[in-house]
């Protein structure tokens, strides 16, 4: 026989659970609604748009996978990916090596260390536009201070952002300057979690600084090193702001990156469908690269 007391009790429990569930979702709503409306829904819509031809004004026209087929064989798109890869291949080693060196150098306590760390981090808080314009001025082929300095030692400075051969390099330099401090801070934070006695034990055992670095510090730092590489790759492939402000993708398309192409396709050529398809392809590329890294994490990263 059912005990009336327990069935009443379980009813009360169920009602209370319903109540807390509703309340929990109410707390989630202010953030969930915008995320669903302005991130998830558009994502789905982007996939839908990518299957159409559309100039944003007249109604869409279904083209199936034609946009994708076009993009895969399109020379300009291939070039955009090549430029983006070139950008990443330039910036990543610079910021990685530079950031690591700085973090190692700043890992001891000495007077003025906080100030030095602050100065190196300063470019990070600026906007990409400001960085781009400042570096456009620094790298001005005729009156920029860098070419003037090179001229003073007898070197004929290149055309930097005005030269198709150097436009990407100019963007890389400006970007590396801005991002260096970010990598440094990340790695420094990681270094400071490495217990001193581990390093001291190694020194006592007779290990030189170099060996200590290779066999103890770096492996213990590998989670942060891994994070830096993953984030740098994700951000690098999405580069846009400084390209737009520094060269606009030029001269002669020599620095056009994928996101710049997406922007141009949408707002200059009225090809929103193709632009959406390209953004999907970019997303897939980034996703695959990230997943490959995460797969390799087990092999490369040592967790203490």
């Amino acid at each position: 026989m059912t005990n009336i007391a327990t069935s009443r009790a379980s009813q009360a429990v169920r009602r209370r659970r319903l109540r807390t569930t509703v309340i929990a979702y109410l707390f989630l709503a202010p953030s969930a609604i915008p995320l669903v409306a302005f991130v998830i829904a558009p994502m789905v819509r982007a996939a839908w748009i990518s299957l159409h031809e559309w100039n944003l004004i007249t109604p869409m026209r279904w083209v199936g996978f034609d946009n994708y087929a076009f993009l895969i064989t399109d020379a300009d798109t291939r070039l955009a990916f090549a430029h983006t890869l070139g950008y990443v291949a330039g910036v990543l080693p610079l910021t990685f090596a530079g950031g690591l060196a700085l973090a190692l150098g700043l890992n001891r306590t000495f007077k003025g260390r906080a100030l030095l760390r602050g100065v190196y981090f300063l470019p990070v808080v600026t906007s990409w536009i400001a960085v781009a314009i400042v570096w456009r001025w620094l790298l001005n082929p005729s009156v920029g201070v860098i070419n003037q300095a090179l001229g003073a030692v007898g070197i004929d400075g290149p055309g930097w952002w005005a030269d198709p051969q150097w436009s990407l390099v100019s963007i890389i330099l400006a970007s590396a300057w801005k991002d260096l401090g970010y990598v440094m801070v990340l790695l420094l934070a990681g270094l400071q979690t490495i217990p001193l006695d581990v390093q001291e034990a190694a020194t006592l055992d007779g290990a030189t600084s170099w060996r200590r670095l290779r066999h103890i510090t770096l492996p213990l730092l590998s989670p942060q090193l891994f994070f830096v590489v993953v984030i740098s790759l994700i951000n690098g492939f999405q580069v846009f702001d400084q390209v737009y402000a520094m060269t606009g993708g030029g001269p002669a398309g020599s620095s056009e990156v994928v996101v710049q192409r997406i922007y141009d396709l949408t707002f200059r050529y009225g090809e929103a469908g193709t632009a959406s398809a390209l953004s999907m392809i970019l997303f897939a590329v980034i996703l695959i690269i990230t997943l490959v890294q995460i797969k390799g994490e087990r092999k490369w990263v040592h967790y203490a």
């Binding site: 707390f27 944003l56 100065v119 600026t126 942060q224 996101v259 922007y263």
Partner: protein, 271 residues
């Protein structure tokens, strides 16, 4: 080589590197006070004829002053919105157990992986359909929530003991009161860290405002700065003045909130 000497050399190298790092900022400022910079020759380290002319040109011939106000307003609104919505969601995730909790959390995680460029076209058309192009709501609405903020605040909330909640609720406080008066006041460092991060992100944002804001009077600082290049192509002193004005507020924020900014950055890298 004695250890002391290598330490000294290292510090010296780092100091020199810092000077090199800082040089672009210095050069920008020098250029901005060198009248007629770039038209004839490169500026010298100490300008012959320093003047604030570039700044007066900047503010009189463009909407730059307005752009500063716009940026401040937008950044403030977005920061407050993101802190509030993220904290509310974090409260749900850290204090409640409810069906669909794991799926919901995974969904928040997934939204962080969707890049801006994928959303560019559909969001733009969405705003167009809502009549919000060239309108501040078009900038604010998509930025009301931040999945990153939810994670950060949830992490921080985990270290606020649930016993405090329970004590308050035994005394008769409802969930909202407990949230506002018990949990949140204990999260001031996390609020500061995320708040600074959100403010900086909004201040420096470019692509989305570029797409949405068309009128000169609505433009934010990065947009106005970018337009300077078209208007003052060879007047580098004016462009550098614009850069200084753009950088200065973030510089000030950085000096005051350095601890929180660096903490926020470092925290994202530590598991």
């Amino acid at each position: 080589m004695p250890k002391r000497l290598t330490q000294w050399t290292l510090t010296l190298l780092l100091a020199l590197g810092a000077v090199a790092m800082f040089f672009p900022f210095l050069w920008t400022f020098i250029t901005s006070v060198t009248s007629g910079a770039g038209l004839s020759a490169a500026p010298t380290l100490i300008p012959d004829d320093p003047s604030w002319r570039a700044y007066s040109t900047l503010f009189s011939a463009t909407n730059f002053g307005r752009a500063v106000v716009n940026s401040v307003g937008l950044a403030a609104v977005i920061t407050i919105a993101q802190v509030v919505t993220s904290s509310l969601a974090a409260f749900a995730f850290s204090r409640f157990d409810f069906p669909g909790k794991r799926a919901a959390f995974a969904t928040y995680l997934a939204t962080m992986m969707i890049p801006m460029q994928v959303l560019l076209v559909p969001l733009f058309t969405q705003m167009k359909d809502l009549g919000l192009v060239n309108n501040y709501f078009g900038v604010v609405l998509p930025s009301l929530a931040s999945a990153f903020g939810v994670f950060l605040m949830r992490q921080a909330m985990a270290s606020v003991p649930k016993e405090l909640d329970e004590a308050a609720m035994l005394d008769g406080a409802g969930y909202v009161r407990t949230f506002a008066t018990i949990v949140m006041p204990n999260l001031k460092p996390a609020i500061a860290t995320f708040g600074v991060f959100a403010f900086m992100s909004s201040w420096n944002a470019f692509l989305w405002p570029l797409v949405i804001l068309r009128d000169d009077s609505l433009k934010t600082l990065p947009l106005a700065l970018s337009s300077l290049q078209g208007q003052f192509t060879t007047q580098w002193d004016v462009m550098m003045a614009g850069s200084v004005v753009s950088i200065l507020p973030m510089l000030a924020l950085y000096i005051f909130a350095q601890k929180y900014i660096i903490q926020g950055v470092a925290g994202t890298g530590i598991k």
